[in-house]
């Protein structure tokens, strides 16, 4: 147990954690473009009364369907621009720009 705890602490220190939030609200990704460093985790939260999902247009990631207040997180480990949309309501689009 002790060893595991030490490893977790070490991991937390070694990886600079940056968490970015994107709310899904009124059939929109509230921040349609966000810029994060490599290694950042982005969390989407559905604030609507209807389900949405988060699907990357190049299949890099896909969330399960998010009902009200459910969240989905994805860590971006490579630089680039990742476009995504809600495959239920495809007018809803956004992108994550990942910088080195």
């Amino acid at each position: 147990m002790k060893l595991l705890g030490a490893v977790l602490v070490f991991a937390a220190i070694a990886t600079p954690t940056q968490v970015s939030e994107v709310a899904i609200d009124n059939f929109n990704f509230a921040a349609p473009t966000i810029t994060v460093p490599v290694g950042a985790t982005v969390t989407w939260t559905n604030r609507d009364d209807v389900p949405h999902n988060v699907v990357s247009t190049d299949n890099a990631f896909k969330s399960p369907v998010l009902d009200t207040d459910q969240k989905f997180s994805h860590m971006f480990e490579t630089p680039g621009t990742f476009k995504y949309y809600c495959s239920l309501h495809p007018r809803m689009t956004g992108q994550i720009v990942v910088n080195r």
Binding site: N26, F27, N28, D48, D49, V50, P51, N53, T57, P64, V65, D67, T68, K83, Y84, Y85, S87, L88, H89, P90, R91, T93
Partner: protein
């Protein structure tokens, strides 16, 4: 037509309203869910009462599983819609459900829907809405309702000389786009209608509107023009949709477009709210914005007559 209506004692105003319905120009009627008492609805109901022809009912957007403020008991309101159908003095031959049977595609939601609909003891034809194909590419839907259908659930059948076509425009949607039929389904549609006489009345039913109601909210279908092109030679085409949880109508030449109310919750008129999401109304008003649509063909060479009936209506 004038003679027939005069025989039925229709006054001049009623006649003009009827002509507006069958007119060749575009007629736009927009209402936030209720058509009761409007001239169009009155004349359509009059025609339905005269009819000895084919009758069927459209219900839509039952969203079994939804439990938010806009309607915390969608099972009860669907049950009321079913009671309305059962209580009608003129029984329909069958029912069309134009999608969003469930809210989250859960097996338990499909089971509840199935159990409620079975109380009708009528054939029910389904097309899926986007809420019915959430997790598993529509397998839950197709296991229950896919028998005799192709692709994601499209199919056609004939009833009393009318050709019915159920289309699916809620799968494989592209980022930034609207509803989509896809090439495979369009090719099937072209073949499906190829051998029909142009005098055959056509009824198309699909979840998302096949006309551009309000693209800003995704209320339209990217490749619907191609589908309508295949139907252009037919003298009577009726397009029945759901998805927008309110009644809208448009007549364009020989094609009449109609969307039905939801049995679960209303949505705002286009652009009249922050988004297309569920709209909460005062609880005493809820049943006046939920309902179903009764359809009939007076005769094969007549346009379809559509009566939108709210849960608050007594008829």
């Amino acid at each position: 037509m004038a003679t027939r209506d005069d025989e039925q004692g229709m006054d001049r105003r009623g006649f003009l309203e009827c002509m507006a319905w069958v007119g060749t120009g575009a007629v736009w009627t927009m209402a936030s869910g209720v058509l009761k008492g409007t001239p169009l609805e009155a004349s359509a109901y009059g025609a339905a009462k005269m009819a000895g022809g084919l009758r069927f009912v459209q219900i839509s957007d039952s969203h079994i599983g939804f439990d938010k403020a806009a309607n915390t008991d969608v099972t009860a309101t669907l049950r009321e819609a079913i009671a309305k159908i059962k209580g009608s003095p003129e029984q329909p031959s069958f029912v069309l459900h134009t999608g969003d049977l469930t809210h989250l595609s859960k097996p338990s939601e499909f089971d509840t829907l199935q159990q409620l609909m079975s109380e009708l003891s009528l054939p029910v034809f389904y097309v899926p809405g986007e809420h019915d194909v959430l997790e598993d590419d529509g397998k839950s839907f197709l296991q229950r309702y896919g028998k005799g259908t192709l692709g994601a659930g499209w199919h056609s059948f004939d009833k009393d000389g009318v050709h019915f076509i159920g289309l699916v425009n809620v799968v494989d949607l592209k980022a930034g786009g609207l509803g989509s039929l896809g090439r495979g389904q369009l090719e099937w549609l072209e073949k499906d209608v190829k051998h029909l006489k142009s005098s055959t009345p056509i009824v198309v039913f699909a979840h998302i509107p096949l006309w551009s109601v309000y693209p800003e909210w995704g209320w339209g279908t990217d490749d619907s023009a191609q589908a309508l092109a295949y139907l252009k030679r037919f003298g009577s085409v009726s397009v029945l949709n759901g998805h927008i949880h309110q009644v809208m109508q448009k007549v364009e030449g020989h094609v009449s477009f109609h969307t039905a109310m939801s049995t679960a919750f209303p949505q705002p008129a286009p652009g009249m709210g922050p988004s297309a999401g569920p709209m909460k109304v005062e609880s005493e008003r809820l049943r006046s914005v939920l309902g179903l649509s009764r359809m009939s063909f007076h005769a094969v060479n007549h346009p379809i007559a559509i009566t939108d009936v709210t849960l608050a209506d007594t008829m």
